[in-house]
């Protein structure tokens, strides 16, 4: 069989992504139809920049969801005679099967690895960002509201301490297999993973403390689910075995949350200092509302605009961080197809076989670009009113 021409390769790839195209079309059609009822998200369709960003992000999210339908081969399987082959090379012994983007140094399909890699990035980056936001919000709101007190000074000093730490050094020291034996990771994850539980408990308590039945129900639900997940994720001690995180993955996850949380803390603290002078906060204080109610139900909803924008930006930044980790061989596992690691493997033969590193590099870039454009569009639209 002859290798495919460039046009044929592009055509084949477009066909492979069919589920993604259908998905994007459905989502966009539905969004445009109901845009007037969708608030900030609906307004996004007025901004061309934001729309391009949204489509790029949707593309990768749907790719991650439908990855098993899109891949042409197994991402880990090696095929004899396919080592470092050019894009569009026919697979030996299989009629009509091609390596669309060529083979890598271990004779695996670059295209399938790129598609599978999106699953890893899109599973870790948003989750880590959410955790960082929980930590940052839970600590930043009181620090901003009681600015100048000892606890605020202390927290700000700690946040600046972490922010002064060169990120790359922190990763090299924290994401090593040895550190797991010492319990530093466990200690960190044990602390950081507590914050979502604390956040939701305070959130429900401050709102419903006049409605004991509803409060009790919500608290029990939060505590049961929270500590169930907590035991599994932080200590790998889930009695039912549903929540589980690979120790190496836990290491990476905790480090990424740890690096991001202080920045979120600073943003939330700044926003709180700004918002606490508004009239509606004074009104709530006059009504005699409790501190936590004011923070979580008056200040936080009014700070959502900048926080949503930063959330998009931060997922992009986390994606870059994960890529950096993979690039230095500190990735999830040596075999895994995550993008940073694939770039790292490909870079050694870059001058001779550039295609192996180029595919994940462009994938990573387009995802981050999409998130940044989306954030830009959201910022523009949220400033309009």
């Amino acid at each position: 069989m002859d290798p495919l021409s460039s046009l044929q390769i592009i055509g084949q790839i477009l066909v492979q992504f069919t589920p993604v195209w259908i998905g994007i079309a459905i989502i966009l059609a539905l969004s445009v139809t109901f845009r007037s009822r969708l608030g900030l998200y609906g307004k996004l369709f007025d901004s061309p920049v934001g729309l391009v960003g949204l489509v790029l992000v949707l593309f990768w999210v749907l790719t991650a969801i439908f990855a098993d339908q899109i891949v042409t081969f197994d991402a880990l399987e090696q095929f004899s005679g396919m080592k470092n082959k050019k894009p569009g090379w026919p697979v030996r012994g299989q009629e009509g099967a091609y390596f669309l983007l060529g083979g890598d140094n271990l004779a695996r399909d670059v295209f399938s690895r790129m598609v599978k890699g999106s699953q890893i990035v899109l599973a870790i980056a948003p989750a880590a960002t959410i955790f960082a936001f929980m930590v940052g919000i839970t600590l930043g709101l009181p620090a901003g509201l009681h600015g100048g007190r000892a606890s605020d000074t202390m927290l700000t000093f700690l946040a600046n301490l972490v922010l002064s730490f060169p990120v790359i050094l922190l990763f090299f020291l924290l994401v090593t297999p040895e550190i797991r034996q010492t319990g530093v990771t466990l200690w960190l994850s044990g602390t950081l993973f507590l914050f979502p539980i604390i956040f939701f408990v305070i959130l429900f308590y401050s709102r419903f403390n006049q409605q004991p039945i509803k409060l009790a129900g919500l608290l029990i639900l939060t505590l049961v689910i929270g500590f169930w997940a907590y035991s599994g994720l932080a200590f790998n001690a889930d009695p039912l075995g549903v929540f589980y995180m690979d120790p190496n993955l836990l290491n990476i996850f905790v480090s990424v949350v740890f690096v991001n949380a202080p920045t979120v803390f600073r943003i939330v603290r700044g926003l709180t200092i700004d918002i606490k002078t508004r009239d509606y906060v004074a009104a709530a204080q006059t009504r005699g509302e409790r501190q936590w109610y004011i923070m979580l139900w008056e200040i936080l909803p009014n700070a959502r605009g900048p926080l949503i924008v930063d959330f998009c930006l931060r997922i992009g930044y986390t994606t870059i961080l994960l890529g950096t980790l993979g690039f230095f061989g500190l990735g999830v596992s040596p075999e895994s197809p995550d993008w940073g690691q694939t770039i790292n493997e490909g870079r050694k033969l870059l001058a001779i076989y550039p295609h192996t590193a180029l595919a994940p590099a462009l994938a990573l870039m387009s995802l981050v670009l999409g998130l940044n454009l989306l954030a830009d569009g959201l910022r523009e639209e949220s400033l309009k009113d």
């Binding site: 920049v49 000093f157 600046n160 301490l161 002064s164 730490f165 060169p166 990120v167 790359i168 050094l169 090299f172 020291l173 924290l174 040895e178 550190i179 034996q181 010492t182 530093v184 992009g316 870059i320 890529g323 950096t324 690039f327 230095f328 940073g340 770039i343 490909g346 870079r347 870059l350 001058a351 001779i352 550039p354 295609h355 590193a357 180029l358 590099a361 462009l362 990573l364 870039m365 981050v368 670009l369 998130l371 940044n372 454009l373 830009d376």
Partner: protein, 348 residues
Amino acid sequence: MFSFLLRRSGVMVLTAVCLTFIVFFLTNLDPNLEKLTKSEGNQRMTDAQVESWLDRNGYRQPLWKRYGEWLGVAPGWTREDENGTIKGRCVEPDVAPADTPSYCGILQGDWGYSLVFKENVGGIIQRKLALTGWLGLWVLIVMVPLSLLIGVLAGMREGSKTDRSLSTFSILTTSTPEYVSGVILIVVFASSLGGLKWFKGTAQSAMENITFWNFTLPVVALALYGMGYIARMTRASMAEVMTEQYIRTARLKGVSPRSVIMKHALRNALIAPFTVIMLQFPYLLTGVVIIETLFNYKGFGWTLVAAVGNNDIELMMAVSVVAVMVVLVSQLISDIGYAFLNPRIRVS
């Protein structure tokens, strides 16, 4: 102003001590010490042998004491051997016991000995920093003027076509981390696939002799990532200044647009980017590590990777101290510079 300087420097020293202690703690964790022992002795040592080696070499003292020794504020440990010779942290074979100093830490200028490079850490750091200094210098020369220019041009007229296209370019560069731009640049300009082969894909030869051909790609890859962020900040600052009353007054007076920009707007618009440029140094540091690894330029970033990869504890500590100091000093300069450049802050 003086009390501000004093307080700011005090916080900086405190931060530096905390950070170096954290690094000291993390580099001296038990598994690292065990690896060190086995590479110094032999790989088949039993746990008891490892323990006794660590004990004999002062690694089993309390962590605070050892941190003090490393810093040079606590006297180094000494111990008399079975056959009467004195061993210790500060003892060297060819120095007489009477001349041996009791303190030897980084405050005395003793950075320790690298087990991988087999020479004093101080010398390695100096040489590697010089190499990275050249890289950083060229990056700044390319990055700062270009990003300021882009930012000012885009911010001059908000919403114009120039603004749209330049802003999109800035977003594109901030979305391209160094390891991606490096790979793309090498593929396009230095590989068989791109076919252009204009530049060299490695900067190894640049360590002796920097030329346009071997240094362009690493410098451009590093500058691109930082550029977008500075440009966006400059644009925001410029756009804000352009809406000020005094710009309108100048325009209505009939001052030429060129003069309005150069004399009235730029001076005020460039204060914020100064801070941003200084705060880019920590990110530049990460970029340097990536780019030096990718282009095989054996400078400071490459040394960091080598030290961590080989568990070279003393070198790791020295590299960390330099990295932490770069970050802290750039923060200090940005704070002081901002207060100095902006009279409104200085008064209050």
